[in-house]
Each structure stands twice: as C-alpha cells, then as structure tokens.
C-alpha cells in the first residue's frame, strides 16, 4: 500500500478489494479490464487524431477555463496550454500538452512537441498554483519534446530537468492525467504528481516504439515488436506502478465518444482532488517523494557492508591492458 493511500485511507487492506466508492470508476488492477488491447493497438489508439485532446478535454471537464499565455521570456509555445479552471466551484491550475485534431492544427501546435519555452510556461503556472494554494492538474499528450536545433539552442534538456525538479518539490497537490501519448522526458516534465492517472488506451514510454526499434532492432519496421517489449500500454503501466489507475474509455475508445470520456475524467479528478485536499502539505511532499523513490527493481546480492576493494589506479589498469 502506498504512503498516499495510507494517508488518505483510500485503500484498506482488510475490506474486500479495499477501494472506497470514490475510486470505483477507476481501474486499479489489470484484471478489472474486460479485454486487453495489444500494445500496438494501444499505440494506434493513443495516437488517433480523433482522440480528444487537451483543450477539448479542458472545455468539457471544467465549468470555466481561462487560458494564460507565455513564458515571460521568449514566446508563447502553442504545444503547451494552461490556465485557471473551475471544477465544481473549486479553482485549479491546469497545464497540458496540446496536439491538433487536423493536419493544419497539428502544424500550428507542432504536433504536441513542446519547445523549451513551453516547459518554462508550464513552470510559471506550476509556481502560480503553489503560490495561491491551488491544486495542479496536468494533461500529458506528446510524442516527445521537440528534438530540433532551436530546442537544443534554448536548452530543451535544462527546461525539462527544471520542470521535473519543480514538480517534485511543488507544495500543492498534483494530479497527472495521461490522455494519449506519454513520450519520454517531454511527458515527464508534466508527469510528476501525487496521483498519476492514464486513460485506458494511453501509452507511456521512454522512447517511441519506432525509435526503440531503430536502435535495438536496427529497423523502424520492428516497432510493433518493440511496443510489446517496452510494456507501454495501460495495463503494463499499472503493473509496473508507473500509473496509479486507469480511467475507463467508452467501448469503442475515447475517440468514439468525447463527452463520455470527459465525464469519466471529471469524475476521476473530482475524487482525487477531494482525497488529496485532506492531506497536510508536509505529508503530501513525503508521499510524493516515496512514490517516485520506490522505482527500484534492482537486486543486491551479498551484504552492502562488505569492504570495498581498493581502487586500482588508471595507470595500473592501462599497463595491465597493454601487457595482456
């Protein structure tokens, strides 16, 4: 049981499956899924251009929303949107990555690939949330951070690193929702939260399946095999603990019914916010630290106390290499 569950009493090990009714609409065990889409089907669904994207989801989920623009340094990145919204009379800060619903819109939105100034805008809004004690909700939907030379020039890596660091220490509740594609560091820059949710067919990965296939299989055509090996689909992410719960999608997928999808997201968010509001800030910070601290999966044979071998000098090693 996670520290956050202990703090909020959401899961009780003693009663049944242990979930309070507020979590009832969420999928927390892969067994709850009637059928499991293949990883490649999930990749296709997550990238479906008709899938609801961030601004549309915001429009349907929140009662009111006013967008805030710009990073105050360089420009307003259209691949990241954010602002102040209202959920059942509760003001929140919302930040999300924005893909387009058409080729034209996708070009305008850079296919949801943020530049550094996009992450810097996001960070400005994170700080705003912290300053005024507003919960932060982020929507992740990106193939990845923009990898072009303009991004490199303006510090893409630095912007992502600062963004992750800020989320890790931000003194306000954070709920992350992965809507479609969670592409690597560009997704994690919006992905550090107290609760991380994903739509049922969303994916989250360290590199695109095509990129992984190109490097490990030396052929982008092996993307389907790579997708399977990478364990990037919703049920996989649940099993790995990378996401805490899946938000169910309508039977045909999120793209078939935007309203039903938004309703499910709204229900999930309302329940999570109600839960997180009860947790004191200091406990929340500890629980967030522990949540990410737990990703270990490393084994330690023998005892850690065994004396370390004396370090061999580089010169000695080189001589050994030369003479062997």
């Amino acid at each position: 049981m996670s520290m956050l569950d202990r703090l909020t009493g959401t899961k009780r090990t003693v009663d049944g499956n242990g979930h309070l009714p507020v979590d009832a609409n969420l999928i927390t065990e892969p067994a709850q899924l009637a059928s499991r889409a293949s990883p490649w089907e999930a990749v296709q669904a997550a990238r479906n251009i008709q899938r609801p994207h961030t601004l549309e989801v915001i429009g349907r989920v929140f009662d009111r929303f006013h967008e805030l623009h710009g990073d105050r340094g360089f420009r307003d990145d259209p691949a990241i949107v954010g602002g102040i919204a209202d959920l059942d009379g509760r003001p929140v800060v919302v930040v999300g990555e924005q893909k387009g619903a058409s080729t034209e819109e996708n070009i305008a939105r850079n296919f949801g690939m943020p530049h550094p100034e996009g992450y810097r805008k996001a960070m400005r809004l994170y700080r705003l949330a912290e300053k005024f004690h507003l919960p932060l909700i982020t929507f992740v939907d990106t193939p990845g951070a923009y990898p072009g030379p303009e991004g490199e020039e303006r510090g893409q890596a630095e912007a992502i690193a600062q963004s992750i660091l800020l989320m890790a220490r931000l003194q306000t509740p954070i709920v992350v929702v992965i809507l479609g594609e969670g592409g690597s560091g560009g997704a994690l820059a919006l992905g550090v939260g107290d609760v991380v949710l994903a739509l049922q067919n969303a994916i989250y990965s360290v590199i695109s399946p095509e990129g992984c296939a190109a490097i490990l299989w030396r052929s982008p055509a092996e993307a389907e095999r790579a997708a399977k090996a990478m364990r990037l689909s919703g049920p996989d992410l649940l099993e790995l603990g990378v996401v805490d719960a899946l938000i169910p999608e309508p039977a045909g997928g999120a793209h078939t019914d935007h309203e039903a999808t938004a309703t499910a997201i709204r229900t999930a968010l309302a329940a999570q916010l109600a839960k997180l509001e009860r947790v004191p800030a200091a406990d929340l910070m500890s629980a967030r630290y522990e949540r990410f601290r737990a990703f270990g999966a490393s084994a330690e044979p023998g005892t850690a106390a065994s004396p370390p071998p004396p370090p061999e000098s580089w010169f000695g090693r080189l001589v050994k290499r030369m003479t062997s």
Binding site: P149, E152, A168, G185, G191, V206, R231, V242, R288, A297
Partner: protein
C-alpha cells in the same frame, strides 16, 4: 607522424591515434597525460575509476553500494535477453553497472561522488544508476556533504522502459531535498552526455562545468538532423556551444578539474560555516 609509418603499422595496444589531430600517441604517455592528447589537447574519454583517481584526495575514496546490480523489470528481450546484455557488459568491464559512487575528500572537502562510465552499455541510466545516485544524494543530505556527479551517458536505458524514465523523477526528488538543505551539488559533464541524463541531474548543478569538446545535447544527431533535414553547423551541441548559449558555467580542461572543483566547494563551505556541511 614519427618515422613516416602508416597508422596501421602502429600496434594498437601501444599507440592511439588522436581523432582530432591524427597524432600517434604512445598509450603510456597518453595515460600519464590523463587521456588528453599531448599535441592538440583533445580529451579522450576517461573510465570511471580513472576519473575518481583523478579527482579525489589520494586514498580517500570509499565505494558505496558496489554490489547493486540490475534486475529485469520488463522481462525485456530484443535480439538478446536484457539480463544477458547486462552479464556481458559486466564481464567486459568488471563493473556491476554504469556508475560508481562513494565518499571521498576533494581538496579536503567532504564529498559524495558519483561517476558514470560510458563504457558500460553507453552509460545508460536504469534503476541501478538511479538508485545509486539517489542514495548518494540521500547520504550527502544525511552526512551534510557536497554532492559531485560526473556524467557520461547516452540517456535512459531503453531495456528498462518507463522504470528507467522514472529514475529521472526519483533522482530529482532527492536533489530537491539537497537544494533545500543548502548543500552544494556540482555537475561535471563529460563526453558524451545526452538524453534523459542531460534532461535531469546533469543540467541542474549549483555549478555546472564541462570538459572541452564534450558532446552535450538532448537529442541524438540523427534525430535533430532528421527534423530539419539539413546538416547542423560544426560544433553544434558541443560544450563550447552550451557555454555560449548560457547553459554551463565553465569549460574546464581535465588537468585543472580537481583544483577547480576544490575551489568552488571550499568557497561554498567557507560561506556556510554556520550550516556545518563540513565534517
């Protein structure tokens, strides 16, 4: 080139050709010069053990978590199962994973040191690298020492998928605590540092220094070129470019690295006497 011989006449275990100036360098002499070309000062890569030897006060290094070794969180197989790749890398290098951590003094400053090794699976970051750096930061916090991380990495380790990605958040959580406790963290970026390592701890030091000519960029060359469809200008994504763009504090040639780090650490310690991060 001495004696007018062709490069292939130089036995490779004795000689190394400098990729920058084509000078043939006697290996022993190259090692004595800290793997820096004696003619053009090109910086060859340096292994983690050699790097530690170069940086710390003689005999002061004590390794931590030396036995930590990788699991296989995804059950990952491409042409070979991941555990076989790990075993092969371990056999080849004699190390358990792509990082060595421990405590030492550096110019008499108490530090926790973490040094990555590009030779081990491209210095890629999986759960072991993430765990060792996180423990290093937590130890630095508990013992009020400075943290120095030397990075050399292709990025997150694909074979560990999102678990590798999560290491970025895990490490930065620990670095945030170190920062709040006003303990110094110095990032030393060496050739090459890219991807998820650059997009997390490598870009965040109180002081960030890099070695001359080091390749430091978020995306691989092919990815970046692919998006613009043209060749990038020479020197794009090198340490000198990052200095010009304002993302690193200094470029420090290897022979000066130890004294430069000692200078900064001593300065921070002098100003923080009341904070007692010293021993």
């Amino acid at each position: 080139m001495p004696f007018g011989r062709k490069p292939n006449e130089f036995p490779s275990h004795l000689w190394t050709q400098c990729p920058n100036c084509n000078e043939m360098l006697f290996n022993k002499q190259l090692a004595r010069n800290l793997n820096v070309c004696t003619k053009c000062e090109h910086h060859f890569r340096l292994g983690a053990r050699e790097r530690i030897e170069l940086l710390v006060d003689k005999g002061s290094f004590h390794e931590h978590d030396a036995t930590l070794t990788s699991g296989d969180p995804l059950g990952f197989t491409d042409s070979k199962p991941y555990p076989e790749r790990i075993a092969a890398a371990q056999a080849k290098s004699g190390e358990k994973d792509a990082i060595i951590t421990g405590e030492a003094t550096l110019g008499e400053n108490p530090v926790i040191l973490a040094v990555m090794d590009f030779e081990f699976m491209g210095g890629s970051m999986g759960a072991v690298v993430g765990e060792k750096i996180t423990r290093a930061a937590e130890r630095a916090l508990a013992e009020r020492r400075a943290l120095v991380i030397v990075s050399a990495s292709g990025g997150a380790r694909m074979q560990e998928g999102t678990i590798a990605l999560m290491q970025m958040a895990k490490i930065l959580g620990a670095l945030a605590r170190l920062d709040q406790a006003r303990l110094p963290y110095v990032s030393v970026i060496t050739d090459p540092t890219t991807g998820g390592v650059l997009a997390s701890f490598a870009s965040l030091g109180d002081i960030i220094v890099a070695e001359p000519g080091a390749l430091i960029r978020f995306s691989g060359e092919r990815v970046t070129s692919g998006t613009v469809g043209e060749k990038l200008p020479t020197g794009f994504g090198k340490a000198e470019f990052l200095l010009e763009r304002g993302f690193i504090d200094q470029i420090v040639p290897r022979p000066h690295l130890r004294e430069r780090l000692a200078f900064f650490l001593t300065a921070f310690r002098a100003a923080s006497q009341d904070l007692r991060w010293s021993l």
